[in-house]
């Protein structure tokens, strides 16, 4: 019995808790991508850099707050910086929409044109970010590091295996839950939110119902900008802020959105967790878990790892390909191809 508990604790510590945190971050990122796709009908490759921008502003604001001596005790100061970051990111998104994307809506451009344009935006944003903050890693998490320390857990339960929960992980999951709840309340219970769903469902009919397209677009960018800022900041808090990594996040985020059904918010969340858990489960070394679960003292020879840790990205991509080939509309039937 105690062996099973130990195995569970091991899994929880190295797979379940990190996957929950990472899944929340991916879900928030995928939500942003999926909203742009649902309303503006294109894949925004620049979303990763938008997240990076949001994280950067959080970092800078956090430094400012820390210098001024403002903190919140055990929680990371970055949470105070978050509203500033949201406002800044939203402004940047609206600016790019006004300067760049809006013209192409009047031209009724093809989706692939928007994609290329988002590559241009990606370039500009990544240049701006690196210019302002430089390419090096920045750590800006502060406050209490752990909500639950491994040692404390061992003492509480008497197990051999510890379970640690970092504050950033807890913050990530809680924030994600709150934000998602807010978003769903907005989309399903408010007039504006419903008008956005209507616009995404049937653009012409929405126009005929008197829904103002410019307003819908603006609100979409506001929501996406906010989501990007939050997701980027949470990711940066959890893993340290490294500007280069955000470009690499584009792939798992799009995988999450597509797996869940692109254009469908529920799908984005579901996809985020599917990708996160798959990545962790398929690259985890099960050696000790198997040792716990098998009777006696037998310990398996190798690491019992299906794929090397470095192949995490490959996992999300393979899942994406499988979904695209078998059920392109995703698990929750988003917009079709």
């Amino acid at each position: 019995m105690i062996d099973i508990l130990n195995a569970l604790a091991l899994l929880a510590n190295f797979v379940i808790v990190p996957a929950l945190a990472y899944g929340s971050q991916l879900a928030l990122g995928a939500l942003g991508v999926t909203m742009i796709y649902a309303v503006l009908r294109f894949s925004n490759f620049a979303h990763g850099e938008t997240m990076s921008f949001g994280a950067m502003i959080s970092v800078l604001a956090t430094w400012g707050l820390q210098e001024a001596g403002i903190t919140i005790g055990s929680l990371p100061t970055a949470l105070l910086a978050l509203p500033i970051s949201i406002i800044a990111t939203v402004c940047v998104c609206l600016l790019f929409d006004r300067l760049v994307y809006r013209y192409y809506r009047t031209q009724k451009a093809a989706p692939v044109t928007y994609l290329i344009i988002s590559v241009g935006v990606l370039f500009v944003l990544s240049g701006v970010i690196r210019f302002i903050i430089g390419p090096k890693d920045q750590i800006f998490a502060d406050g209490q590091r752990f909500i639950l320390k491994a040692r404390a857990f061992k003492e509480m339960t008497g197990l051999d295996q510890g379970l640690a929960i970092k504050t950033t992980q807890g913050v990530t999951v809680v924030t994600a839950v709150v934000i998602v709840a807010l978003l769903f309340w907005f989309l399903n219970r408010t007039r504006t939110g419903k008008s956005m769903r209507a616009y995404s469902d049937n653009e012409e009919l929405a126009l005929l119902s008197g829904i103002n397209p410019a307003r819908v677009v603006m609100i979409t960018w506001i929501i996406t900008g906010a989501l990007a800022a939050i997701a980027g900041t949470l990711y940066g808090l959890d893993k340290g802020y490294k500007p280069f990594t955000y470009l690499g996040l584009v792939l798992p985020i799009f995988s999450a959105a597509i797996v869940g059904g692109v254009g469908n918010p529920v799908g984005a969340i579901f996809g985020g967790f599917v990708i996160a858990f798959s990545e962790m489960l398929l690259t985890f070394a099960y050696k000790r878990v198997i040792a716990y679960l098998t009777p006696g003292d037998w310990v398996p020879d190798g690491l019992m790892q299906l794929l090397a840790t470095d192949y995490k990205l490959a996992v999300s991509f393979v899942i994406l390909v499988i979904v695209l080939l078998i059920k392109p509309t995703g698990m929750f039937s988003g917009k079709t191809l």
Partner: protein, 437 residues
């Protein structure tokens, strides 16, 4: 006639820029830029074949370039016999097993006479078992190989053939990968094709970085053989020495210039060949059909043209060209460094070249390759100069000024992005637009 004049002017302008660099900065630098311009031009040609002929957005240029470089390594490096005896055969057979497992899985998915879920589980099971078996076969082999002098080799080595074969091999390897990738992703919408190709190229780079037994991973393979003489050899030949004293140039510098000129010559030949072939293809009935499909896919499909297989052809051809460029790049560098393959530098920069040059036009692609690469390189000193000027009013040691100067290099990302956006908005057909025939 005006079109010819215009194009000639544009190319002459480009040449003038290069000469200016040679005069104001250094001839070596100008030639170095020229060589990379030539390679970029070939890469752009490859991407243009996919985009201009068929409207396919390939976001995985980086991967195909890397495969070209890998081919250069595999072809030209001599085999490490010790590694081969230690586990070469076992490693290769393990790899074949893995491929077999995947193929079997796909076959099961297509042919097994059961309902969808049962088939899905069956294929998945076969693939998973296959991967497990492959790991069981290959892991000890890989360990053994990598244990053979890890500082110097630690990998299988190659075939030890002359490096020129590497360029063709680069194209072939890239074409093979393109066939596999195309088969999977070409039925998809343009956005999804972009995401799929982006993902695959990232995985290729991952594999190259991590599978040390293949190409030493991040330890890099250096000292690759080359088709032109070495600078040191040249420095000891008589005619070079006498030339150096006659034109009054430093001997070392002259040898470097001669080497670069040799490369440039080779590259120009390859570029001319590929350009000529592309133009022939474009004007042929095949080319016309491709453009008809691109312009109205539904109508073409209704007329009985197999759109997907045509797209596959184009995808393979374009990728092969990119692979050749990749092999040439690695030869020029003399080192195979997987970590230099970054999506921004390769995939997206090449896209800027295609768009600015003129999508759908081969000559435009060449020009785009030259222009954008030139400005990408020159933007660094120019950016530095600009920032220095802008911050000149600040104190010498002000942290902000130092920080900004340090990061001045990144302004070229902003410039490139702005160039792409401006061209797309105000001159979407590029410098040399597609010719309507």
């Amino acid at each position: 006639m005006t079109e010819r004049w215009r194009n000639s002017l544009l190319f002459a302008g480009m040449a003038a820029l290069l000469v200016a660099v040679g005069v104001f900065q250094s001839s070596n630098l100008a030639l170095a830029i020229l060589n990379l311009c030539l390679i970029s031009a070939i890469m752009t040609l490859g991407v243009n074949i996919q985009w201009g002929y068929a409207g396919l957005f390939n976001a995985g240029v980086m991967g195909f370039t890397a495969l070209g470089g890998l081919a250069a390594v595999i072809i030209s490096v001599p085999p490490v016999t010790e590694a081969w005896t230690a586990g070469g055969v076992r490693a290769v057979s393990g790899l074949c097993l893995g491929v077999l497992a995947i193929a079997l899985g796909i076959l099961t998915w297509k042919k097994l006479a059961l309902n969808k879920t049962a088939r899905g589980w069956a294929s998945a099971l076969i693939v998973v078992i296959g991967v497990v078996v492959m790991r069981w076969v290959i892991d000890p082999a890989v360990e053994a190989i990598e244990a053979v002098e890890p500082a110097k080799t630690g990998f299988l080595g190659g075939f030890g053939l002359p490096i020129m074969f590497a360029w063709m091999a680069g194209g072939a390897l890239a074409a093979l990968a393109a066939w596999a990738i195309g088969k999977i992703s070409l039925g998809l919408r343009s956005d999804y094709l972009a995401i799929a190709t982006l993902g695959i190229s990232e995985i290729i780079i991952y594999i190259l970085k991590n599978e040390d037994w293949l190409a030493r991973g991040v330890k890099n393979v250096n000292g690759l053989s080359r088709p032109v003489p070495y600078e040191i050899e040249l420095q000891s030949t008589l005619w070079v020495q006498s030339l150096a004293s006659r034109i009054d140039i430093n001997l070392i510098e002259l040898s470097s210039i001669i080497v670069k000129l040799c490369y440039a010559g080779l590259f120009v030949v390859v570029l001319a060949l590929i350009y000529w072939l592309s133009e022939r293809a474009l004007r042929s009935p095949w080319g016309r059909m491709m453009r008809a499909i691109r312009d109205n896919e539904i109508a073409a499909g209704a007329m009985g043209k197999n759109v997907t297989s045509r797209h596959l052809q184009v995808f393979i051809l374009g990728s092969a060209v990119i692979g050749i460029a990749g092999a040439m790049l690695t030869t020029l560098d003399g080192i195979f460094t997987p970590s230099t393959y970054q999506p921004l530098r390769f995939t997206f920069l090449v896209w800027v070249m295609v768009i600015v040059g003129g999508s759908g036009n081969n000559l435009g692609s060449i020009l785009g390759g030259f222009v954008i690469w030139f400005f990408w390189i020159e933007a660094e000193p120019l950016g530095l100069g600009l920032i220095s000027f802008l911050t000149s009013s600040m104190a010498e040691d002000s942290p902000i000024r130092i920080h900004l100067l340090q990061n001045a290099a990144y302004t070229r990302y902003i410039t490139m992005g702005a160039v792409l956006l401006l061209v797309l908005r105000f001159s979407p057909r590029g410098l040399i637009p597609e010719r309507n025939r």
